[in-house]
């Protein structure tokens, strides 16, 4: 998956894949799994390991419960979409994964959320170190008022990572399908790009330090249809290397790009989580069917 991560592998790989109880003596913050895939030779499909596993996660903002009893497993190298009406807690769940909710004073998270088998809400987890492994792209494009080059290298700078920055910038921008448009203006401000380009710059910035999971909070909702379809193509491309978790309002978008879909409904409950095809063609819950077919929500 990534060079950086293979270098940092720990000795306790057996703990990882199955998401077993974390070893408190491990001095690594998160336990790495072996990135070499176990490929099922007969069928040709890969057995996907769980990257993020939520168990009975509840979130409160003061006294309002935003999420109740979320349990789900997100497999690696796939696109997992979260859909649901406004205020159903899907973004809140996304922000639980990299503990961005810590920045909101009133937010309180209960339950267990494992990333590669390590509970990210354990006391010994440094949220800053966690966020360095989990990239995030926000709803509104938010490049820094710095040059395009400096935007992409921001994650590397703050992590004090060495390496050939020129090469990483080129690689990240190519992956974000932005290189051809900006390769002659890397010194110009990221704010001078168009909205769609800014969002792809933000994606390049998020993937430059090679995270394990890429969280996307409605990354295309502020963009026009052309830019949206560019971002969608990009997400499918990125899922080859990364585990992508995307929140979206747009049913069609979820159907187009995701492998699994989680449907959240009002009250912060996860009503159904399954393969996208199944959710859209043959959902088990009547409420999910109503929501997807547009009867409410």
């Amino acid at each position: 998956m990534s060079q950086q991560n293979t270098d940092e592998q720990t000795t306790s790989e057996q703990d990882a894949g199955d998401g077993g109880s974390p070893d408190p003596t491990d001095d690594e913050m998160l336990i790495q799994t072996d990135v070499s895939e176990s490929v099922d030779e007969t069928s040709g499909t890969r057995r996907r390991e769980t990257v993020v596993r939520a168990e009975h996660v509840d979130v409160w903002y003061d006294d309002n419960q935003a999420l109740s009893d979320i349990t789900m497993e997100i497999p690696e190298q796939s696109v997992t979409a979260m859909v649901g009406p406004s205020g159903c807690g899907k973004s809140t769940f996304l922000r639980c994964i990299n503990r961005m909710n810590d920045l909101i004073d009133s937010a309180r998270v209960e339950g267990d959320l494992y990333l590669r088998g390590k509970n990210v809400y354990d006391d010994d987890v440094d949220p800053v170190a966690l966020r360095r492994r989990v990239g995030m792209v926000f709803q509104k494009p938010n490049p820094f008022p710095k040059s395009i080059y400096d935007n992409v290298t921001y994650g590397l700078e703050i992590q004090d990572k060495g390496g050939d920055y020129d090469e990483i910038v080129e690689r990240s921008l190519k992956r974000a399908a932005l290189w051809d448009e900006v390769n002659d203006q890397l010194d110009e401000s990221g704010l001078e790009l168009s909205g769609g380009q800014q969002q792809r710059l933000c994606i390049a910035r998020a993937i430059a330090p090679d995270p394990e999971v890429l969280l996307m909070d409605e990354p295309a909702s502020a963009l026009d249809p052309v830019a949206t379809s560019q971002i969608e193509d990009l997400i499918e491309e990125l899922a080859r290397d990364y585990t992508v978790v995307i929140v979206t309002h747009n049913m069609q978008q979820a159907a187009r790009i995701s492998d699994q879909t989680a449907v959240f409904l009002t009250g912060g409950e996860l009503v159904e989580f399954d393969d996208t095809q199944k959710i859209f063609e043959n959902p088990e819950s009547q409420r999910v069917e109503d929501y997807i077919t547009g009867k409410f929500g």
Binding site: D105, A129, R133, F138, K140, F144, I158, Q159, D160, A206
Partner: protein, 549 residues
């Protein structure tokens, strides 16, 4: 929905009487304020500048050479492109303001800081700075703690030597002299203008170089910086041929010519391409010069204004005609430098803490309310505080630069904190989110995202606060700053006067018809001009901030 069957005959009227009355009331309030203020300024300026004493021919000449061409060319340029006109006016404004600043810098260089001291300290700061920049470049290999201690050690060695002020109280003799001291003790020293030119040209070259590098590329920036440095030194040689001493001509080049020329280059010859604006500026400046030359050859006398060279360069005197403001101007400049050096780091630090770090609890809310209240405390109370704390309690001599500067710094500290907090708060929260989402620590977010974004706003607020400090009289009276000093302060411990204090002294201690009508208005006009120059910088910064933000 509406069909043809129900036609609307009349929509009726909505009453706007109250709104109209309100509108004209607030217009009246606005006009009242502006007119009263303008009348006051005109009254004072008339007393100080005495425009009625000038020859009609003087006015006619300047009308023909300056006003008429400016209006004509300005109108033509503005019609072709308002941007070029704005650029041209900014260029003229920059020239005027930077001329005032070169006056201030010249005063410091000629009368306050001996060239050798300035030169040695500039080198003693530049060398460790270069070393620490070099260390930071290789920061991936050197740990933070060792880098910090190495930087601190190099600075200490360079400024104080070993063992320096730490060793002297326990009787350890100086083993290694500081770099500054070492330079001061070399037997052969360069002449004054070389040292002043090197320091000012070095600073000017660095600023010009980085500015040009930002507009174009690094190599052009390097060339421009080198050219600027060379120009400063060359000006010292050329200066005497046009009647300027070497040292003032280096100051003039570094502080006025370099920024103006760089700005002119940027506006006229880079991609902005507004040479018309350059033409407009040339017409204004050329018109003023031609007008001055023409009036002196034709023998038309200008106004007998009290604000003249003599007033700006001499000290107080018993007679109003010979009285001058020079020591007070210098005192105000030194006080402002002290105030800025004290209040800026403390104020910005407090603002960053309160905005980014402080938890939202009762204590911080209490502090919040109190900072707002402190901003409204009368300045005389701060004077009393300064007297009590610095003079009585800490035993400092009364009326010195350091005591006055510290008192005024306390006075504007709440304003600096409030405006810096405002600037920090206006950094969009999605930038913070982006930074935290990338895995930045709070410190990294503050350093890389928040402070760079908020900096213009912070600077604007600080400059406006300094504008308040420069006009303060009461705190200086309270700390027993002398009303009249006859020479510039040369150290932080020397007695200092300030412009508003000098004006106050003229209007109270030396109250006579002469002083009322001559020295006081002239002093007020100079004070206002300095204030306007400072505020103009704040306004330019704020405009740039708003355009990018």
């Amino acid at each position: 929905m509406a069909t043809g069957s129900s036609q609307i005959e009349d929509f009726g009227q909505v009453s706007r009487t109250v709104g109209t009355i309100f509108r004209y009331l607030i217009l009246a309030a606005t006009l009242f304020g502006i007119v009263v203020l303008a009348a006051l300024l005109v009254y004072v300026a008339n007393d100080a500048l005495q425009p009625a004493t000038a020859d009609p021919g003087w006015y006619l000449t300047f009308f023909l050479t300056l006003v008429a061409p400016t209006a004509l060319v300005g109108w033509a340029v503005h019609r072709r492109g308002p941007a070029a006109f704005t650029f041209g006016s900014f260029l003229v404004g920059l020239l005027v303001v930077s001329l005032m600043f070169s006056g201030g810098v010249g005063l410091l260089v000629v009368d306050v800081v001996p060239p050798l001291v300035g030169f040695s300290f500039a080198i003693a700061i530049a060398v460790p700075t270069a070393i620490s920049v070099f260390l930071t470049r290789y920061s991936h290999r050197i740990g933070f703690t060792s880098r910090l201690s190495a930087t601190a050690f190099v600075f200490y060695l360079s400024l104080f030597g070993l063992p320096g002020p730490i060793g002297s109280p326990i009787g350890v003799p100086q083993v290694v002299p500081s770099l500054a001291r070492a330079i001061q003790s070399i037997p052969v020293i360069p002449v004054d203008w070389m040292m002043v030119g090197t320091v000012l040209g070095g600073i000017g070259g660095a600023v010009v170089g980085s500015y040009v590098a930002g507009v174009r590329d690094a190599r052009t920036g390097l060339v421009a910086g080198g050219l600027a440095f060379a120009a400063t030194l060359v000006s010292a040689v050329v200066g005497p041929f046009v009647g300027l001493n070497p040292v003032p001509s280096t100051v003039l080049t570094a502080v006025t010519v370099l920024p103006t020329a760089t700005y002119a280059w940027r506006g006229a010859f880079t991609e902005e391409r507004r040479p018309a604006g350059l033409g407009f500026a040339a017409v204004v400046v050329g018109g003023a010069l031609v007008g001055a030359a023409a009036t002196s050859t034709l023998g038309f006398a200008g106004p007998q204004s009290w604000v003249d060279w003599q007033f700006l360069t001499s000290a107080h005197s018993g007679s109003a005609e010979n009285a001058g403001l020079y020591p007070a101007i210098g005192g105000s400049i030194l006080l402002m430098a002290t105030v800025a050096a004290l209040s800026f780091p403390i104020g910005v630090g407090a603002a960053v803490y309160l905005e980014e770090y402080a938890p939202d609890n009762r204590l911080t809310r209490f502090v919040d309310v109190n900072i707002s209240n402190l901003a409204g405390v009368p300045s005389v109370v701060y004077g009393l505080l300064g007297l009590g704390v610095f003079v009585t309690y800490l035993g400092q001599a009364a009326g010195t630069v350091i005591v006055g500067g510290a008192t005024l710094a306390l006075l504007i500290l709440p304003i600096v904190i409030i405006s810096s907090r405002e600037a920090i708060r206006s950094v969009p929260s999605n930038m913070r989110q982006a930074s935290y989402g990338m895995g930045a620590t709070r410190w990294q977010t503050v350093k890389n995202v928040i402070l760079p974004e908020a900096f213009p706003g912070i600077l604007t607020g600080t400059i406006l606060a300094l504008g308040r400090a420069i006009g303060e009289t009461a705190p200086l009276i309270m700390i027993a700053a002398p009303n009249v000093v006859f020479s510039l302060p040369t150290a932080l411990e020397s007695k200092v006067s300030a412009m508003p204090l000098q004006v106050y002294a003229w209007s109270s201690l030396f109250a006579s018809e002469d002083f009322y009508t001559k020295a006081v208005p002239a002093g007020v006009v100079v004070l206002l001009a300095v204030l306007l120059a400072m505020n103009s910088i704040a306004i330019v910064l704020r405009n740039r901030f708003e355009r990018t933000g």
